[in-house]
């Protein structure tokens, strides 16, 4: 279809396609920031190494600077002492950014219902995907990554001006 023929319709058609294109590119280039604190770290190590290999999903290369990463993986229990640190790391990340709550402690505090543990990281930062399990099996982590990829592919990506 020649965009020059239909001056009005072409604009919307291109916008949708652009989101899909950018979403497709972004979902395979996740740079995770592993905010690793607790037991789930053991599974995080397994997930990112040979047997399960998150490289297949384009999410293998951890970046230890929040400025360089776009996926915050909160792996393990977040305590009230840790909360300001997590919040600051989240704020330092550049848009677009996604957050994954890895394991029940990050999701809801898990079975630590007491004075020390934060009852879910969504109390202080927004979360995109929750992975249940204590700790989750690597398969559920991979499932979580795939769901996040679907979410990224299906959302709009306002990266450049509307004229594009």
């Amino acid at each position: 279809m020649n965009a020059g023929d239909q001056k009005d319709g072409a604009f919307e058609y291109l916008t949708t396609r652009k989101d899909e294109l950018v979403g497709w590119a972004r979902k395979f280039s996740l740079f995770p920031y592993p905010f690793v604190t607790a037991c789930c770290a053991m599974e995080f190590m397994s997930v990112s190494s040979t047997m399960y290999d998150t490289d297949r999903f384009g999410a293998a290369l951890p970046r230890f600077s929040p400025r360089q990463s776009d996926l915050l993986m909160v792996v393990g229990t977040i305590t009230h002492k840790q909360a300001p640190v997590l919040r600051r790391v989240y704020e330092q990340m550049c848009e677009p950014k996604w957050v994954m709550a890895f394991g029940v402690c990050a999701t809801s505090g898990g079975f630590y219902q007491n004075y020390a543990a934060l009852q879910g990281i969504d109390k202080i930062i927004p979360v995109d995907v929750y992975i249940p399990g204590c700790p989750p099996r690597p398969e559920s982590v991979i499932d979580g990554i795939m769901q996040l990829q679907e979410k990224i592919a299906g959302s709009s990506h306002p990266i450049v001006s509307d004229r594009f």
Partner: protein, 410 residues
């Protein structure tokens, strides 16, 4: 963008011991808690002179999740899953140390099969723990291949333990007076296969690391501590042994079946990072040697003691007899009735002396549970190993200390 507003008034959870440099050209830097080399839960505030660490102030507690308070709200049985998550690299050792403490207080003697099985599984866990430690510490020094080899074999161990317990990391397999269930069919055969693979893979690690110039330069004579200092700071386990002191609870105060086993206690010479690495490597070999002996010693028989104070009655009896039903109900709701008293039991965990100090007031809920966690004690003396060395050595020293957040901060 409501989030942005608060970024400047986020409170600092810790107060450093010093905030002005002691000399004019000193610089104070903060490392962690969210730093690739501090395992997410440790903060080191260091004063540097050039590249040299002059003073260090170590803060832990970023993973304090109220374990001891949580114990006081659970029965003796239901806190076993919490115990798992202390040292999550070797959850089974925690399980068995805790169960042993409660059994001592209740004056329960476990069955022979359980005794041998617990020893076997403790050693198996120790291998997984040391592997995790070595993998993490060498990866931080850039040895990605060694990391991947160790992860591969560790994953086999995890899957193998999942066959037994149903979970890969946190097993909750110990029970007061026994174990959750017996070994599944074919478990020991697979164990033998894994041990053979282990030798193959560990041989590769030895080949990659032992005489690697980069590795030696970064670990030899770095983070040195003497036996005397190590004891003064309360160090136990591989860190104390790396200084040349052959102190191992498995041999010094034998528990479980260790008195019947043939094993050596590997020690280091210098007490530096390389020795800590090598002591761990040798300890894994000893563990394999012990497991091979235990596989032949494993007797047949029941795994749970026949004691209705702590062991659950069999399911078919619960459904058919009122006494068993009441027994089951009381054990679940009230918990096992542990006689009033206090006990301290210590096991040689992968990091050192893991002690459980339990106080019972005679009910089904502990009055007080305190854990003598080796990692926490090691962090108390960590600054001694950092001061006087380069900033880059913080990474390798901290890696070989094997700080486990769950155990350190509880």
């Amino acid at each position: 963008m409501t989030v942005r507003n608060t970024s400047d008034n986020l409170p600092n959870p810790v107060r450093p011991a010093f905030d002005t440099p002691s000399t004019e050209d000193g610089v104070i830097v903060n490392i962690g808690p969210s730093h690739p080399a501090t395992h997410g839960t440790l903060q080191i505030i260091a004063e540097l002179n050039g590249e040299r660490v002059v003073r260090a102030d170590v803060h832990c507690g970023y993973l304090h999740r109220g374990f001891e308070k949580e114990c006081e709200a659970h029965t003796w049985h239901t806190l076993i899953p919490f115990v798992d998550r202390l040292n999550y690299c070797s959850a089974l050792i925690n399980n068995f140390a805790y169960c042993d403490a409660v059994e001592t207080l209740m004056d329960v003697e476990i069955t022979p099969r359980t005794r041998y099985l617990r020893t076997l599984l403790s050693e198996y866990s120790r291998i997984a723990d040391h592997m995790t430690c070595i993998a993490a510490s060498v990866m931080e020094l850039g040895a990605m291949t060694a990391f991947l080899y160790l992860m591969t074999i560790r994953d086999w161990i995890y899957e193998h333990l999942a066959d037994l317990t149903g979970a890969r990391v946190t097993y909750s397999y110990g029970r007061i007076g026994g174990l959750a269930h017996d070994l599944p069919e074919g478990w020991l055969e697979r164990l033998e296969e894994i041990l053979d693979e282990y030798e193959e893979y560990i041989g590769r690690i030895h080949g990659l690391m032992d005489r690697n110039r980069i590795f030696i330069d970064r670990t030899r004579d770095v983070g040195v501590i003497s036996t005397e200092q190590a004891v003064h700071w309360g160090f136990t386990g591989p860190i104390l042994r790396s200084t040349g002191a052959a102190r191992d609870l498995r041999r010094d105060t034998p528990y479980l079946a260790y008195s019947e086993l043939d094993f050596e206690v590997p020690v280091g010479i210098n007490g530096d990072n390389y020795d800590r690495y090598y002591v761990r490597m040798r300890e894994m070999d000893e563990s394999v040697h012990m497991i091979r002996q235990l596989m032949h010693m494993l007797p047949k028989g029941p795994i749970n003691v026949d004691d209705r104070r702590c062991t659950f009655p069999e399911k078919h009896r619960v459904y058919t007899e009122i006494e068993s039903l009441i027994n089951h109900f009381k054990l679940v709701i009230d918990g096992p009735q542990v006689p009033a008293g206090e006990v301290y039991r210590a096991h040689e965990a992968a990091n050192g002396e893991l002690g459980f100090y339990l106080v019972s007031d005679g009910t089904g809920t502990p009055h007080r549970v305190h854990v003598r966690a080796p990692s926490f004690v090691h962090m108390g003396g960590l600054h001694k190993l950092l001061e006087g060395y380069q900033l880059a050595d913080v990474v390798s020293t901290f890696g070989t200390m094997n700080m486990i957040g769950g155990e350190c901060d509880r």
